[in-house]
């Protein structure tokens, strides 16, 4: 009887007994994602501003970012282990590096799309460069920037599962556990919750974008 339940696709009894564990994994997964997104946003926005101000830096920045993006995640984790060890730092460096291409690309595209006439109007009203950037250009670029944040967040949530292979928690730890014991239930739970989290965050950011850009709602 127990053997049959172990082999079934999902064994609810196990889920009931391990709710604490599942919650713990959820907290870890969310923490890893939030850290990666915050650091990724800070680095990417700085690079995007540099690329907009000093135009020739745009190509080298995206070139390096796209090489980082192409390196498979498990390989990037493995490449970092000799230097940063098995730990959160290794996972975060790899996760952050995947956000940069998407975030820089969208931020630069958003800022570039601000009409010249709008910028001139701001200059005409005596705005300084920084005030123009913060109160005119960034708000107008916000929909494109948030679209980038959505893609990056969904990507990071999926990649965090792979961090389990270097011993970091999150839903990947559940998947890894099930894989090693040939026991499908934790795999199904880990995969389903990871997908749900990704869709939830994607939806949440879409709503945030609508709330932050009320002037676009009529369109």
């Amino acid at each position: 009887m127990i053997a049959d339940e172990r082999r079934s696709i999902i064994w609810w009894g196990w889920v009931g007994d391990h709710l604490d564990d599942i919650w713990q994994r959820t907290v870890e997964h969310v923490q890893l994602t939030i850290i990666a997104m915050l650091v990724g946003c800070v680095i990417s926005f700085a690079l995007a501003l540099l690329a907009v101000r000093v135009r020739w830096t745009y190509r080298p920045i995206t070139r390096v970012a796209s090489i980082l993006y192409t390196i498979p995640s498990i390989a990037l984790f493995a490449l970092l282990i000799p230097f940063t060890g098995l730990g959160i730092l290794t996972a975060e460096i790899a996760l952050v590096s995947y956000t940069i291409l998407i975030l820089v690309g969208n931020t630069v595209a958003g800022l570039d799309a601000v009409p010249e006439s709008v910028k001139e109007a701001a200059d005409g009203m005596g705005y300084t460069r920084w005030r123009r950037l913060l109160t005119v250009e960034i708000p107008l670029a916000l929909p494109t920037i948030i679209a980038g944040i959505r893609v990056a967040a969904v990507t990071v949530i999926g990649l965090v599962t792979i961090a389990a292979l270097i011993g970091i928690g999150g839903y990947g730890a559940l998947i890894n556990d099930g894989l090693h014991r040939n026991f499908p239930t934790p795999i199904v739970i880990g995969a389903t919750l990871s997908i749900c989290l990704a869709l939830l965050v994607d939806g949440g950011l879409a709503i945030a974008q609508r709330l932050l850009t009320p002037w676009r709602r009529g369109q």
Binding site: T70, A75, I175
Partner: protein
């Protein structure tokens, strides 16, 4: 940095490259499973996408595909397919990995092929119908050629993802370049040079495939050269 010295030694030892478990054999296995997965995903995704797009059916499916494709972790697919594959007699290694790679490869190919056909300029389609082409002729002679560039983009995006993810096949017993990483990690600190060597090989292969597919895309769609 003993690890780096160890890695260089690992990569420059001839016997590590040859033989049944050598770098060349594993690299070939890595490329082979990726190739099979790309072929299966392309033959499943592209005809379906082209037909649905020609009929202007299921536009939301195409958008949902991208989101879902991004949200589903490939590690989870491999892990999920693994117990099923053993239960239904497909065994370890090749098939669980290949199924996961196909699942991963389908969304970008589908979405790009769909967009390619749907975004064919409406006036061109109308002109084609106007000169008396049937629906099938419009599809074959107008919409398909117009969709080729985006289809190739889909194949490139999928292909790079598939090669990258084939690495994870090592977790379910498929011997490929990922095996160096997985086996090395399992051996603890003494396995570090092997891990680093495997990572370098996988990274080099992924970047090479990206470059190769980018060239292929340009060669097959010469009329797009001016637009880049």
């Amino acid at each position: 940095m003993n690890v780096i010295r160890g890695t260089i030694e690992f990569l420059t030892t001839g016997s590590n490259w040859t033989g049944e478990h050598g770098i060349l054999a594993r690299g070939w296995a890595h490329i082979w499973i990726s190739f099979v997965a790309v072929m299966i995903s392309a033959s499943a995704a592209i005809p379906a996408a082209v037909w649905l797009a020609h009929k202007r059916l299921a536009p939301t499916l195409s958008v949902a595909m991208v989101n879902l494709g991004r949200a589903i972790p490939s590690f989870a697919i491999i892990a999920l397919v693994f117990p099923l594959s053993i239960r239904y007699g497909f065994g370890l290694g090749f098939w669980p990995t290949c199924v996961a790679l196909v699942a991963l490869g389908i969304p970008p190919m589908f979405t790009n092929a769909y967009a390619g056909v749907v975004e064919t300029q409406q006036n061109i389609v109308e002109a084609a119908s106007g000169i008396g082409m049937t629906g099938t002729q419009v599809l074959r002679k107008v919409e398909l050629p117009a969709a080729v560039p985006l289809m190739m983009t889909g194949v490139r995006v999928s292909g790079v993802q598939i090669v990258a993810t084939a690495t994870l096949g090592a977790l379910v017993g498929y011997e490929c370049l990922g095996t160096y990483i997985v086996a090395g990690l399992a051996r603890g600190p003494t396995g570090r040079p092997e891990v680093l060597a495997g990572a370098l090989l996988v990274a080099a292969l992924a970047l090479t495939v990206d470059l190769f597919l980018d060239r292929l895309e340009r060669t097959l769609t010469p009329w797009r050269r001016r637009l880049r």
